[in-house]
Amino acid sequence: MPTPITNIEAIEPKLLPGDLAIWLFIFMELLVFGIFFIIYAVVRIQNIELFNHYQLTLNRELGAANTLLLITSSYFVVRAVHAIKADNIKNCIYWLYGALAGGAGFLILKSWEYVDKFSAGINLSTNTFYMFYLSLTMFHFLHVILGMVILFAIAIKAKRGAYSAQNHLGVETGASYWHMVDLVWIILFPLVYIIR
């Protein structure tokens, strides 16, 4: 990517993209998910047979499709950041909408999966495995919604001309959050759906 010399970013040292406040928040989020993943792993070892048995009832194809959706939308977000850095507001908005579509696809597939489970009478209190499966994925599900709200807000602000090559902190901040949501799923998916 050619970097114009006039770009302030090129001169100033930069450790993290986006606002430092969001990184504090992301750190906090990862801490929470991290603790939950560790607890999951420990409880899984203690109830290995139960977990192995009920893991098979999950729909892995849907999970894999969702992984692809999120990775693609993460890529779109990267493109959106590049677009705004090149002062191409129009493309930035298109890429953001693309990322939103990916997120929406994730939500639809996931809802389908939930409907399937709920109609089978499964809920948080069914057993330990489903408790973890539902609470972890639903917690992540809510994060996807939040991430989409953020991306949508950025798209609207971009449309109003709030961002430019010089001022793209907001886009980067939203992008950082969306990558976090994606990253959590990439860990969550194998952990809950695949690893045996």
């Binding site: 100033e12 606002d19 406040a21 969001i22 939040l146």
Partner: protein, 145 residues
Amino acid sequence: MRETFTKGMARNIYYGGGIFFLLVLIGLSVDTVRSLPKTDNSQNLTETVAAGKRVWEVNNCIGCHSLLGEGAYFAPELGNVYTRFGESTENIKAFIKYRPVDGIPGRRSMPQFNLTEEELEAIAQFLKYTDGIKTARNWPPNIQG
């Protein structure tokens, strides 16, 4: 210098995070309320038990005792008192009934509440019902509460 930590972002995190977790809390509360019938012993929640809860409240029992671990820690836990008293409501009633009016010299003593027979039966039934609540890991850890 470029602003790397904006107040606007901190504010958004406050509002966003606050609303997000409030919604999570509401969702979990709905689920909790819906799944309570499995553990809350409501099938045994009779009129007498409800009356017993009133007796429990208007005599401020929680001011000395704890019930399922909540309350004061001056007197014994009563969440499992029914079991501790040999699964007998009569024993509970007798204990409450024969408290000395002037206390026991030098020691803690439960006041004499002058409850009627009806009230005694109600509070005993309430404590029996409470003992029937299915707490996680069957808390309290042992019979002593």
